[in-house]
Each structure stands twice: as structure tokens, then as C-alpha cells.
């Protein structure tokens, strides 16, 4: 028998470990929260890890989940044991193949981290809406409700599918199980071999397509036999429940954990029973234990095998005494009589013919990982006792619209006294989560205790706050919900105290560990009053450590993780102190050992110094502080929605919002990011007007619109706050104007990109520039006042400027501001520029990805409006369909305009011929023309106001569309090069006036840096851990080949003027335009503060040549293709050594790096040569005015 290890892993790893070892072909594609399964498989394969058959599985990334399913289908047909991992929309894309795979009775298992489907909004979190959409595919569905089960039932699924030929969806709850770290017993290869019958494997291989025994599969059938053939597979489905139970029994014999198709826990004579599947069962089981201990007759049926649904097994699992059933579904099927599991249970009971039938009610809970607790389960049992319970109800929310929700008692708890419950508040960047994962591992793998970790992240990429929920218990931990009564609270950032109630979860007598720059003697008076009150009222013990100081002294910078971890162990007494320190060091060695001895030494030094800096604070008897916790937002600006909803979301209290507070269709006002003053920067840029040369580069490159330039008349300075800086305007655009460069101190992320690009240096001290990063705090109050004043200075009129230079564009108000993108993000400056140029008449189709997340993830959006209330109108459909989505917008705009024009012509008599002609013939290619059209539309409205005809009223409703609309289709390279390429390609051929902006980071940035077809050769990326071997796809040239598409490749940091020109050219081109925008990304492994100037190296090395192809010039002897960058002067290798994605390959695999870098250089040389030739090519494109020839 194999030696089984007790390990602490998350659900994804638990499942992937089985899937990998039992597969030969694994096709993958990233999607949250299942990406980690594919990443594990890829890295195990890259590391040469073998499956139980002795081979290294072939792990291949596909262009979409649809592609992955297709590849798996093919691999299965050709006889390989194959698997994939996915979730949510990805699973939907697999459905067509899933029907085929099941129809052909092909054994496979897809492992699913079940996630919410996008409806009114996208959500990355967990529920069963994705898997429930697969009910009709003919796949068996097996649900795991914990990390151990995700491991165990994954194996059951693989064994049963091979035995019974029906393919399996093995699913577990996204995040709650996929990302929960828990202690499990991991099965060895021998266990896997014991569960998989060689004859089943041989049978599968025997069914492979083979020219030596040729067969045909996938015929087309007619009315005569299709139906019969469909029924022919019935026996296989009938056999599956039995085979699954056999596999479960075999597993039980092997490892001692017994599962059944429906597992019952609770009173043997229960009268009230909950039926459900997934992680929520953990919470219910705790409630059942607590209630049965009180003598209540309650129980729980955990559904394991959901399809094929074995009614007899369900009935057998239910106690005969059960009279009242509540079926809980973690999904919503609008319009149905009830949710799927509810309906199945009802049907099973009814068909059983047993009398009397229990009364059954159905509830929805936990959509998008909404918390589901034992208290809620108790409320369901109470409802079951009611004389007339709600037949259909919801749990976990307050529904004040349709009044379906049940109110529960949040005070009810099942948390035991002997369980350590610790909650840690940290910043994403300070390593808090990593340290806690380590702590869970230390306890889980070195003590008899069970350990659980679950981690909550906010929706920002820069300055994000993390909350770690960690439990240690002498018993297995089934608490699948957040901690609400912590006996240990740690706050890893002192400034959180002012912003959030970190002691909310502390139970009386709890220990509070605070990272504090103030020592034990002075800290008390620095605490906000509310914190002091809570400490006294709850009788908390307070410990402080200056973790930042300890970390810095140890050479760890601002990563305070090991310091805080050591302090936790020192005061929590989970382990004896000495042993804890030793275990931490061991764990550091295990985790960071491969990073080098110096890294270990610094970490050890931090551990050793930690305890010296740890002090308990004597709590004074009374509250002394005059500091108060800050409100969630400084001002709601009189906006009712912001006050009622946005402010609550920002305060982290969104769970409290009732149904009535929410928009019914997912529509939100824009312009909300400005109320969310996160103030996350430690340093901000401070302007020195004496040196400034008005170049506006700082404003151009700022990823967060947090540094701005504005020219104004001197009179505008009246009433300026003291210290408001101003200088005379140097440009020809205005005479006698003054100007200011102003930082938004609470919105700046402190990335430093503006200072890096500033070209103006002091003559006296060269290091001093026109803007310089300085500690924020001393400047904060003054700059706040300055920024408020700055915003109130009128913006210069757009019509007075020719918007063709960097400088003039930066006088325009950005309509994209303060996004939650990473500090130094390479994408957002392009969006901001686009919003400045065209935002007041732009409609945006945004592909899912980073840009849709920082663009549209609640609580706020950076898309905003100008003083006239105009601004970008934005929508996100999906990942794969964005080009088509945007095209549809263009079609609608054109149709609406055509209708408006027809109405206008018909009303010419009453409106006036001149106005009609003006409206119809307006060109609108510059700001004057647009403004002129807006005036004409206003005049038209006035004239229509007196006309009550249907036509006039209809035209009044459509008139705005007579002002030219700019349709922008925006997304990353994962969309444009891979999953959305088919659609993008099609849209390019339509000749329609859309502007496609590809924010090309060369990886799937949002899901953590997986390779795309835009990933350059030689770069390491997830799914390409050995360095990408293939050349980057030349999307630009594919588009150029159509002839009538405007195509440009740009890099803002390398050539800002070209960028501005391209945006103007693309927008004015009345056909499809494609802009490929070089977007640096943290996944490149670069110093983000110098990322913009680093783009110069990307261009100088030829890694990213700049070009434009303008079909308007593709006539006569003109050359339509322009190379905008110079012949490469820097060797690729030199460029590559500046980026971690290349440099790490050089370190880890120098021979392969040499080989790939040489090929990459060849790519560059070849491409340059090709482009040079292109620059001399004459074209004569027939439909140079696109659409014309269509």
C-alpha cells in the first residue's frame, strides 16, 4: 500500500492532482477560478512529472474553452485518456462538444470549479449556474463539497467514467472549495492504479479510431433511426449510479472514507431534512449537529451524484420519518417552477408513489459565493416547522421586492471554543495571504491539528486589501463560511484602522495584533476613538510590532509577512513558541529555498528580529482619542445612487443592501470612481513649475488620470487656495494663459511613471525634475485643496484646439479616471487618451479581461462624464464575442441614424431645409464640426418641440445619433488573438466603422499571465513555463492583408506623437480600424515605475516596431504602409535581459534561452525586413472608402 501524505492544498490542486495522473492529453484554457488546475498540470508536465501510465501528459493550451473541448473530443476519439478544467462561460463554450462526447459514450472527466454565469453582471465567484446549464448534455454530474472530496470524488469520477463510458462533470464550488486551503490525505499513484481497471482503459483505447480497424463515428442520421439510436444508450445511463457506488465503495475499502450517491447525516428519525449539494453542506452539517444535540429531529442529504439522478437512492437515503424537506439550490432558473434540484427531488418523491408525500419547499442561496452559514440553515429548519412555510424562498439576502427572503439570526453560531479562529487584514502587496497560507501549511502538515484557510480579496488590482480567514481545530474543519467570531485579529496595516472596522469580527477577550509604527507606550493615543472603544468594550488584548521597521532592517523591504507570521505564532499559542519559530524557518526554507540563500537569510533575520519588537500594550481604562474613523466616502456629491448604493459598497457593507437597492438590469451610472478616495500612495508627484516645460507627458502616461494639466485665463486663479501652483503657458495655443500640473493626491497610486518620463530637469541639481515623488502625508491636505480648486477651473474649449499633439490632448478632460488597475498599468493610458479625444461621443464594447474588470467591477467605474453629462457609454458582453458585440452597436447606431435621417428629410418642411441640409451633410471630423452638429441638433429639438406628430416625437428621441458616434471595441490580446479572433477577423471584413483597440500585454493578464498567441517567443508565461517556443502572431499584418482596414501598431512610451496621430487617424477612418497598443504589464516582470520609458527599448530593439497602414493612401503611387520606428539598434538579448519573463528563462534554462532568443532575434530581423518591403509596396484598394464596394 502506498504511503499517503497529509497535505494542505486547495480544492483545485486536490482535483488536478488526480486528473493529471490519470490523463494522457490535457487541453487547457484559463478561466477563473479553475485556471490553477490547468496551471498545475502545465507546470507538472514542464517539470517532467509522469502520470500513472508512465508518460508525461501532453498539456496543450487552446484558443478557447470551445477549442479545448474540441481537442479533448478528438483526443478521446483517437484513444487517449483526456481531461480538461474549466468554469462558467468556459463550460458553456464546451457544451456543443459535450453533447457529442456523451452521445458517443466517450469516457472522460471535466473538472469544474463551479462559477456564476454572467447575466446582468459578470461574477468570478461560485455557484452552480454553470454546471446546471449542462444538465441536458448527457454527462454524469458528481459534486464535491470539500477539498478532500474534490480529491476523492475526482478519482471516483475517473474510475466510473472508464467503467461506464458516460462522461463525467466533476464539480466543486468555485473559490469556496477551489481556493480553500485545507488539510487532506493525498492518494498515491498506487491508490489511483487500484481504482482504475486496466480492462476499462484497454476498452477505451480499443474504441480509438484506427485505420487498421476503420470505423465511422458521427454520422448524420434521419427521422427513420435517429430517435432509436438516441435511446440505444439508455442502459449505460441506467448502469452509472451502480458503477459510481461501486467506485465509492472501492475507495472506501482503499482509504476508509465512505461516500454514497446521496449521503445522509443527522437524526435517524429526522422529520425535517435539507437536500443540497456543494460546499454549503458543510455549514448545514454543523447546524444539524448543533440542532440534533438539542434533540431536534433534523437531517441533511448531501447530493453527490446529481446526474444520472438515482431517485431510489435518494429515497433510500432519506429517513422514513422525513415529513418536511427543503431543497436548496445554488443557482437560479428565472421563470421555472423551482430550481433544478428542487424539481428533481419533487419528481423523485412523486414518482416513488409513497404516501404521505413529504412537504417540499425550495430555496436559493449562495449565488456568486454569497455567504451561507449554519445560522441560515437553522432558519431553513425553522421554516420547515412553520404551518405554511414559503414554498420558494431565498437565503442570505434581504428581498424587499418580492419578499422571498428568510430573515435569519446572525447571532447563531456553531463555532466551538477549542477552535482557533484568526482573521488577518493585509494589503495584497505585503504578503499577508502568502504568510497565512504558510501558517496553514505549518499547522496542517506538522501537527495533529486540522487547518483551514480562505482568503478574500477586494476588486482592485492596485492597493487591494486582503482578509484571511484561518481556522485550526482538533477536528476536521467543515466550516465553509467566513469567520464571524474571531479569537485572534491581526491588522497588518496601521492605516486600515481609520478606514475600516477591523475589530468587527473580534469576539470578547480576543487577541489583537497590530502592525504599528508606534510603540506600546504611544500607540494608544494614535488609535481612532472607535478602535479604543471596541478594545475596551470587548476586553481585547493588544499587541504591537513595528513590522515595517523589522522587515526593512532585515532587508525585506515592505514585505512584512514573516514578521507578522512570527508574531502570530508567538502570541496565539497554537504551537510552543520555540517550535513555531523553527517551523516557520523550515517553511521559509521549503517555500523560498529555491530562491537562494540570501533570500532565506533575510527571511530568517526577519523572523529572529520579530519577537524582540513584539510588545503587549497595557490598555488604559478610558477612551482618549480624538481621531475618528473616516467615512467610506468623503462626499456623495449629492448623488442619491452614490449615497444609497455606492457608498455602502465602498464601505464593504454590500451584503446589507436589499434587493430594491439594486438596478434590475445591471445598468449603473458612470462617474463613480471619483467618490472612492482610496489614498493608497505613500509617495505622490509634486510639481515644480519653475522647471516645467509644459510637455504634458506626465499627464499622458498617468494610468489613473491622477496627474493633469490645464491651461486657463489668469482670472481663474481668483480664490485659489494658498500654495496652489501656477505658471505661464508656453505654447502657441493660447496667449497670456497660465497653466497648472496638478496631482490628485487621494487617487494617485504612487507608481512614479510620470516622474520617470518627465524630461525637464533642474539646471542646478539634475536629479530634481519638474515633478518629483515625495512622501504624500506632508502634502496631502494642501494638494487635496489644490485638486478641488483645479477641478473647478473651466476646461479650455475643445473647439479652440487642434487635437493632434500630445500637449493639446492633455488639455482635454479625461473621461476615464482613477481605475483600480495595477499601479503603473500599461493599458489604461490608452483608454484615457481615447476618452479625452472622443469620450463624449463614444460607445464601448469591452471584452472581458483586465479592462472590463478595472473598467466595470463594482463598487465603482472609472468611466465618467464631462460637465455636460456626456461620456463613454460602456458595456461588457463576454470574452469571446466582443468584436461582434461592438459591430452590433455600430449597426444599431447606423440604423438609428438612417431612420433619423429619413425622418429628418420627411420633416424638412417644418424644420427648415438649411438645418436639415446642415444636419445631413455635417462631416464631424473635428471638434468644431462636432460642436456645430450638436448646436444643430439642439436647434432641431427646439423646432420639434412644437410638433406633436409621431414622426417629430420619434425624431426628437433619435436626434442625438445625428452627432457622430465613435464605436470602440476594446480588449486584450487573449481576446483579439485567441478566443475572439474569429469574430474580430469577421468584423474587419465588414467594412463598418468600428475602432478596435487591442491592449496587447502578450499574456492573459487578468487571469494571471497565461500565454496567448501574442506571447513573444522566448518569454516564460503560465502554460508556457519553459518559454514560449512559437513566434508571436502578426495580427497587424493579417489585418493589413485585407487592404481596407486601417491598422497601426503603437507604443505610447516610445512614440507618444505617433500614438496620438494613430488614434485620430483610426477614429476618422470611416471603416474598420485596428490599433495594436503595446501595453506593459506586471506579468512581464519589469520595474513598473520605468515601464513607459522601457517601451523605447521595446521599439529600439525591433521587438515592437511601430507602423501605420492607412487605406486612404492605398491609391495611385502612394504608399499606405508607414514604418514609424527606426531600424532596430538594440540586440533583442539586451532588451530581453531587462524583463523577468525572458531573464528568468536565461537563468533557469540557459541553453533553451539561447536557442529561443536567437530565434527571437531572427523573428525581429525577418519582420523588419518584411515591413521595410511593405513600406515600399503600392496598393490600389478598390473599396478605399470601406463599405463602398460591399
Amino acid at each position: 500500500m502506498s504511503l499517503r501524505q497529509l497535505v494542505t492544498v486547495d480544492g483545485n490542486e486536490a482535483a488536478a492532482s488526480i486528473a493529471y495522473r490519470l490523463s494522457e492529453v490535457i487541453a487547457i484554457y484559463p478561466i477563473t477560478p479553475s485556471s490553477a488546475m490547468g496551471e498545475s498540470a502545465d507546470s507538472w508536465a514542464a517539470g517532467g512529472q509522469r502520470n500513472v501510465f508512465g508518460t508525461i501528459p501532453d498539456v496543450i493550451e487552446m484558443q478557447s474553452e470551445g477549442g479545448a473541448a474540441g481537442a479533448i473530443h478528438g483526443a478521446l476519439q483517437a484513444g487517449a485518456l483526456s481531461t480538461t478544467f474549466t468554469a462558467s462561460q468556459g463550460l458553456l463554450l464546451m457544451i456543443p462538444n459535450m453533447y457529442k462526447i456523451a452521445g458517443e459514450l466517450t469516457p472522460t472527466v471535466f473538472h469544474i470549479a463551479a462559477r456564476t454565469l454572467a447575466t446582468h453582471a459578470l461574477s468570478i465567484f461560485g455557484d452552480h449556474s454553470d454546471v446546471m446549464s449542462c444538465r441536458a448534455t448527457g454527462w454524469a454530474m458528481l459534486a464535491s463539497s470539500s477539498v478532500q472530496e474534490a480529491h476523492d470524488l475526482a478519482l471516483v469520477a475517473h474510475a466510473a467514467t472508464l467503467r461506464g463510458r458516460v462522461p463525467f462533470l466533476h464539480f466543486f464550488d468555485g473559490f469556496r472549495t477551489s481556493h480553500e486551503v485545507n488539510k487532506i490525505e493525498m492518494m498515491g499513484d498506487d491508490d489511483l492504479r487500484a481504482m482504475i481497471r486496466p480492462e476499462d482503459v484497454a476498452a477505451h483505447r480499443g474504441r480509438a479510431l484506427d485505420p487498421d480497424q476503420p470505423r465511422l463515428r458521427g454520422s448524420a442520421q434521419n427521422p427513420d433511426v435517429f430517435f432509436q439510436a438516441r435511446e440505444a444508450a439508455n442502459p449505460f445511463y441506467l448502469a452509472i449510479p451502480g458503477l459510481v457506488q461501486e467506485a465509492m465503495d472501492a475507495l472506501s475499502r482503499l482509504v476508509g472514507r465512505q461516500y454514497r450517491l446521496f449521503d445522509y447525516v443527522g437524526a435517524p428519525d429526522a422529520e425535517r431534512v435539507i437536500v443540497m449539494m456543494g460546499s454549503g453542506a458543510g455549514a448545514v452539517e454543523e447546524a444539524v449537529e448543533a440542532l440534533t444535540a438539542r434533540g431536534e429531529k433534523v437531517g441533511l442529504v448531501k447530493v453527490r451524484l446529481y446526474r444520472p439522478f438515482d431517485a431510489a437512492a435518494l429515497l433510500a437515503a432519506l429517513p422514513r420519518t422525513a415529513r418536511h424537506l427543503a431543497v436548496l439550490d445554488r443557482t437560479k432558473e428565472p421563470g421555472a417552477i423551482g430550481e433544478p434540484l428542487y424539481q428533481d427531488v419533487i419528481t423523485a418523491l412523486f414518482e416513488s408513489g409513497s404516501t404521505p408525500l413529504p412537504r417540499v419547499i425550495g430555496g436559493r442561496y449562495g449565488l456568486s459565493s454569497k455567504e451561507f452559514t449554519p445560522a441560515m440553515a437553522v432558519r431553513v429548519f425553522e421554516e420547515l416547522q412553520a404551518d405554511s412555510p414559503k414554498k420558494h424562498f431565498t437565503l442570505g439576502i434581504v428581498d424587499d421586492v418580492t419578499h422571498l427572503s428568510l430573515r435569519w439570526d446572525p447571532e447563531f453560531t456553531t463555532e466551538a471554543a477549542d477552535v482557533t479562529r484568526a482573521v488577518f487584514y493585509g494589503l495584497g502587496s505585503d504578503g499577508t495571504v502568502g504568510a497565512n497560507k504558510n501558517t496553514v501549511k505549518i499547522i496542517g502538515e506538522n501537527t495533529p491539528l486540522h487547518a483551514q484557510g480562505y482568503f478574500v480579496y477586494d476588486s482592485k488590482k492596485a492597493g487591494s486589501i486582503t482578509v484571511s480567514h484561518v481556522r485550526f481545530s482538533p477536528r476536521p474543519i467543515r466550516s465553509t463560511y467566513l469567520i464571524t467570531r474571531a479569537n485572534f485579529v491581526a491588522c497588518h496595516q496601521f492605516h486600515f484602522l481609520e478606514r475600516m472596522d477591523v475589530l468587527e469580527l473580534a469576539e470578547p477577550g480576543a487577541t489583537f495584533l497590530l502592525n504599528s509604527p508606534y510603540g506600546p507606550a504611544e500607540v494608544w493615543d494614535k488609535l481612532p476613538r472607535e478602535v479604543q472603544e471596541t478594545i475596551i468594550a470587548k476586553k481585547l488584548r493588544l499587541f504591537v510590532v513595528d513590522a515595517l521597521e523589522v522587515a526593512r532592517a532585515a532587508g525585506m523591504g515592505s514585505r512584512i509577512n514573516t514578521v507578522m507570521q512570527s508574531c502570530f505564532f508567538a502570541i496565539s499559542s497554537v504551537l510552543p513558541r520555540e517550535q513555531a519559530i523553527e517551523e516557520i524557518k523550515q517553511s521559509i526554507k521549503k517555500t523560498y529555498g529555491k530562491r537562494g540563500e540570501s533570500v532565506l537569510r533575510k527571511n530568517y533575520a526577519a523572523v529572529d528580529a520579530s519577537l524582540d519588537g513584539l510588545h503587549e500594550v497595557t490598555i488604559p481604562a478610558g477612551v482618549t482619542s480624538s481621531i475618528h474613523r473616516l467615512p467610506a466616502i468623503a462626499s456623495d456629491g449629492g448623488n442619491d445612487f452614490v449615497k444609497r448604493v455606492t457608498a455602502v459598497l465602498i464601505a464593504g457593507k454590500g451584503d446589507l443592501l436589499p434587493v430594491s437597492a439594486m438596478p434590475v438590469d445591471g445598468t449603473f451610472p458612470t462617474g463613480s470612481a471619483k467618490v472612492e478616495k482610496r489614498s493608497i500612495a505613500y509617495e505622490i508627484p509634486i510639481w515644480d513649475p519653475k522647471i516645467c516645460i509644459d510637455c504634458a507627458l506626465c499627464s499622458l502616461v498617468c494610468p489613473h488620470a491622477a496627474i493633469r494639466m490645464k491651461p486657463y485665463v489668469p482670472g481663474a486663479l481668483a480664490g485659489a487656495p494658498e500654495g496652489f501652483q501656477s505658471k505661464e503657458w508656453r505654447g502657441k495655443e493660447f496667449t497670456d494663459y497660465r497653466m497648472t500640473i496638478q496631482v490628485a493626491p487621494d487617487d494617485c497610486t504612487g507608481c512614479g511613471v510620470c516622474v520617470d518620463v518627465c524630461p525637464a530637469r533642474s539646471k542646478e541639481a539634475v536629479k530634481h525634475k519638474a515633478i518629483n515623488m515625495e512622501p504624500k502625508q506632508p502634502h496631502l491636505e494642501r494638494e487635496r485643496a489644490n485638486f478641488d480648486f483645479f477641478l473647478n477651473i473651466s476646461d479650455p474649449a475643445r473647439t479652440r484646439m487642434k487635437l493632434d499633439t500630445v500637449k493639446t490632448t492633455q488639455m482635454l478632460e479625461p473621461l476615464f479616471e482613477y481605475s483600480g488597475a495595477c499601479a503603473g498599468c500599461g493599458e489604461t493610458p490608452y483608454l484615457k487618451l481615447m476618452s479625452q479625444l472622443f469620450g463624449d461621443r463614444t460607445i464601448i464594447a469591452n471584452a472581458t479581461g483586465c479592462s472590463s474588470i478595472y473598467g466595470g467591477n463594482l463598487p465603482t467605474t472609472p468611466w465618467t462624464v464631462n460637465a455636460d453629462g456626456r461620456g463613454p457609454a460602456w458595456a461588457n458582453s463576454l470574452f469571446e464575442d466582443n468584436a461582434e458585440f461592438g459591430l452590433g452597436m455600430r449597426l444599431a447606431v447606423d440604423q438609428r441614424r438612417e431612420y433619423a435621417e429619413a425622418l429628418l428629410r420627411g420633416l424638412a418642411g417644418s424644420v427648415g431645409d438649411d438645418l436639415v441640409r446642415g444636419l445631413l451633410e455635417s462631416q464631424q471630423y473635428d471638434e468644431d464640426q462636432v460642436a456645430g452638429q450638436r448646436e444643430r441638433v439642439a436647434l432641431l429639438r427646439k423646432k420639434l418641440a412644437g410638433n406633436d406628430s409621431h414622426e417629430a416625437r420619434t425624431l426628437a428621441g433619435l436626434a442625438d445619433v445625428l452627432v457622430r458616434r465613435s464605436v470602440w471595441i476594446i480588449g486584450g490580446d487573449g481576446w483579439a488573438y485567441d478566443i475572439g479572433f474569429g469574430g474580430l477577423d469577421h468584423v474587419l471584413t465588414t467594412g463598418r466603422d468600428v475602432n478596435i483597440l487591442v491592449l496587447d500585454t502578450g499574456v492573459y493578464s487578468n487571469t494571471g499571465g497565461q500565454a496567448s498567441k501574442a506571447t513573444p517567443r522566448g518569454a516564460i508565461a503560465k502554460f508556457a513555463a519553459l518559454g514560449k517556443s512559437a513566434r508571436k502572431k502578426d495580427l497587424g499584418m493579417l489585418a493589413v492583408s485585407y487592404g481596407n482596414v486601417y491598422v497601426a501598431q503603437i507604443a505610447l512610451g516610445a512614440n507618444p506623437s505617433q500614438t496620438v496621430k494613430v488614434f485620430n487617424d483610426a477614429e476618422s477612418y470611416p471603416g474598420p480600424s485596428l490599433i495594436l497598443a503595446y501595453s506593459h504589464c506586471i506579468a512581464h516582470g519589469i520595474d513598473m515605475s520605468t515601464s513607459m520609458s522601457h517601451q523605447k527599448d521595446a521599439v529600439n530593439s525591433g521587438f515592437w516596431p511601430l507602423f501605420r497602414y492607412d487605406p486612404r493612401e492605398a491609391h495611385g503611387s502612394a504608399h499606405a504602409f508607414h514604418l514609424d520606428s527606426r531600424k532596430p539598434t538594440k540586440p533583442f538579448k539586451e532588451f530581453a535581459q531587462q524583463e523577468g519573463r525572458f531573464a528568468m528563462l536565461s537563468r533557469s534554462n540557459p541553453a533553451r534561452a539561447d536557442m529561443l532568443f536567437a530565434l527571437a532575434q531572427q523573428d525581429i530581423d525577418d519582420r523588419w525586413h518584411y515591413y521595410e518591403q511593405m513600406a515600399g509596396v503600392e496598393r490600389d484598394i478598390a473599396d478605399g472608402r470601406p463599405g463602398g464596394a460591399a
Binding site: 540563500e597 508556457a1024 528568468m1144
Partner: protein, 337 residues
């Protein structure tokens, strides 16, 4: 019979006095081999820079940690790559490989930045089989509060600490800017140095006038640079029994001969080998031998130090008079119009 070229450097018996000093050619197996083939008597591997190693490791660590566990969808941003060499692994592997494949002595070179680092890495180099150790000490004394003696003390402390740790022959490579070089050299020898390498050529800053940025630059040595070590070896030879190696400006056999004449035990070459290839050593050795034979020298031993300050017909030439003479000769050449 041809003159004997053998010499002793540190306690190593060298087949001739020509060594390849730390540089790109001593960093690669193929060129190391070519140097041995061409007759070079010993090689000094490029320096292991403690600061660089620590920096690389910490930066790689930072790279993988940066913005991890911050955002639910992207808990990390780069794939875990396989094991990569960290710390001195790569250097020590290169050292062992060189030691295994070469018959000539292999000298490891170390530039530390902490006392712990000097000692730790010196020990590792000894364990990896180095025949000797060259401490490449480079400190820019930039603090007005630190007197010269304190700077010297830092050197001495380092050499003492390394000496206590390793039994290997120890050479110390220093710059020339010490108030009393002979006294300082004596201190180093007392602290445990078996030899001195004179002198280190440092990376000196240049300025980019367009960008107003400081550019670190290192140019290949010029022949005239040999004059500095010539003077000091001539002076030191008579005052110390420690080995002395001349480096900087050794480009030809004539330069080697000059170094030997003033008392060097060995002459180290880098720039000329880089420019002309390892084969240059063959030519230099041939010319050295011819020169000795033509003048009927029996051996390098006989030649060595025969023009040290003491043995030189005009000892003052190595001192202040040298400057006077140069000045005189220039003015002598000057003719009024």
C-alpha cells in the same frame, strides 16, 4: 639551453610568469582551454560579486512575489520555473569544472560586500577546489568622517577574517590610492595576504550629455598604464617577501619583462588577450624566451627584481625624480619660436 621560465606565485609553481587575469576569457570553458593551450601559466576566474549575487537572488524573489496574492483572479503573474542557480552555485560549478579540465592553477576571485559574505564564499571556493584565492577588494571611501586609517582597517579586517577561514594561498588585489602603500601592504601581509595584485582597474563613471545620466564605463587597458604598477612593484619588491603580480597595461612580452625586472613574480594579462585572442600568449612567451635567451639570462628568477628600486642604478627614478625627469625632458624638447 633555453632560459627557465618557471616562477613561483603565492605558493604555486607556475610554468612561466604569464597569467590570465579575471576577465571574460577566464569565464568560459572554451577560452580557458585555449589560454592553457597557448601557454598561460595560471588563470584567475572572473570575480564572484557578492552584491551581484544577492541582488540577483533578491530581485528574482521580488519578481515572483510582486503583486501576488493580491487579486482573486491573478494570485500570481509568472509561472514557477524549474530550479535555477542561486547564490554562488553557478560560480562554484564553473570553478570546479575549470579545475577539473585544466592542468594549470585556477585562482578564484572574490568581491564581497559583507564580512560574512567574504568569509562564506571564500570557504566555498576553497571547497570547490580553487588553487588560490584573489580577494578583489573594491571600496570607495566616500565618507568625510572616515579617516584613511579606518579605510585601511576595513581591508585588514577582511583579509584577517578570510585568512582565519581558509588555508588557501591568498592574494589581495587593491587599487593604488593609499597614502603609504608599502606600509599598507605590510599590514595586509601581516593580516595573512600571501601576495598582492597591483593594481585593480575600477569601473569609472562617465556622463551622457544628452540624457544627463551617469554611465558606468570600463575601457580596455592601455600599455602606458603599466607604469604605475612598475613603480610600485619596484618599491615594494625590496620591502616584502610576499608575491607580487603586475596587472594593468601588460600587452606584450616587453611589458612582461619590465614587470619581472622591477620584481613582479607574475604578469597578468586581460585586455590584450581580449583584443588578440588567447593565442597572443604563445607569441608573448616566445618573445619573452627569445629576449632572455638573446641576453643569456638563465631564468626568470635571475631577471626578477633586477631593476627593483634597490637594484636599479638610479633608485630615485622610481621616486619623485621620475616626475622631475619627465618634466625636464618635455621642457628640453620645447624650442622657443
Amino acid at each position: 639551453m633555453s632560459a627557465r621560465l618557471e616562477t613561483k606565485y603565492l605558493s604555486l609553481n607556475l610554468r612561466n610568469p604569464l597569467m590570465a587575469s579575471a576577465g571574460p576569457l577566464t569565464g568560459r570553458p572554451d577560452t580557458l582551454h585555449a589560454l592553457e593551450e597557448a601557454g598561460v601559466a595560471a588563470v584567475v576566474l572572473p570575480s564572484l560579486f557578492e552584491e551581484q549575487i544577492e541582488h540577483d537572488d533578491i530581485e528574482a524573489h521580488r519578481l515572483f512575489m510582486y503583486q501576488t496574492e493580491s487579486f482573486a483572479e491573478s494570485l500570481s503573474h509568472l509561472p514557477e520555473v524549474g530550479a535555477y542557480p542561486t547564490g554562488p552555485d553557478e560560480y562554484l560549478a564553473r570553478l570546479s569544472a575549470a579545475k577539473k579540465s585544466l592542468g594549470i592553477p585556477v585562482i578564484a576571485s572574490l568581491n564581497g560586500c559583507t564580512t560574512g559574505g567574504w568569509v562564506r564564499y571564500a570557504k566555498m571556493m576553497q571547497e570547490a577546489g580553487a588553487d588560490a584565492l584573489e580577494l578583489n577588494i573594491y571600496m570607495v571611501a566616500d565618507d568625510e568622517c572616515e579617516p584613511g586609517a579606518a579605510v585601511e582597517e576595513r581591508y585588514i579586517d577582511l583579509v584577517t577574517a578570510v585568512r582565519e577561514t581558509v588555508t588557501l594561498p591568498l592574494a589581495v588585489k587593491i587599487g593604488c590610492q593609499f597614502s603609504s602603500l608599502p606600509n599598507f601592504v605590510q599590514q595586509l601581509v601581516h593580516a595573512g595576504a600571501d601576495g598582492l595584485v597591483l593594481f585593480n582597474r575600477y569601473l569609472e563613471p562617465d556622463i551622457d550629455l544628452d540624457k544627463l545620466e551617469v554611465l558606468p564605463s570600463l575601457h580596455l587597458s592601455q600599455r602606458h598604464e603599466l607604469r604605475l604598477p612598475l613603480r610600485w612593484i619596484a618599491i615594494l619588491r625590496d620591502q616584502t617577501r610576499a608575491s607580487l603580480a603586475a596587472t594593468s597595461g601588460i600587452h606584450t612580452a616587453a611589458d612582461v619583462i619590465k614587470a619581472l625586472l622591477v620584481g613582479a613574480d607574475a604578469a597578468m594579462m586581460t585586455s590584450a588577450l581580449l583584443q588578440s585572442g588567447p593565442g597572443l600568449a604563445r607569441k608573448v612567451l616566445h618573445e619573452l624566451r627569445s629576449w632572455l635567451d638573446e641576453r643569456e639570462y638563465e631564468s626568470v628568477d635571475q631577471l626578477r627584481g633586477s631593476m627593483s628600486r634597490k637594484n636599479c642604478p638610479d633608485p630615485g627614478a622610481f621616486e619623485r625624480a621620475n616626475y622631475m625627469r619627465a618634466l625636464t625632458s618635455y621642457t628640453a624638447e620645447y624650442r622657443a619660436p
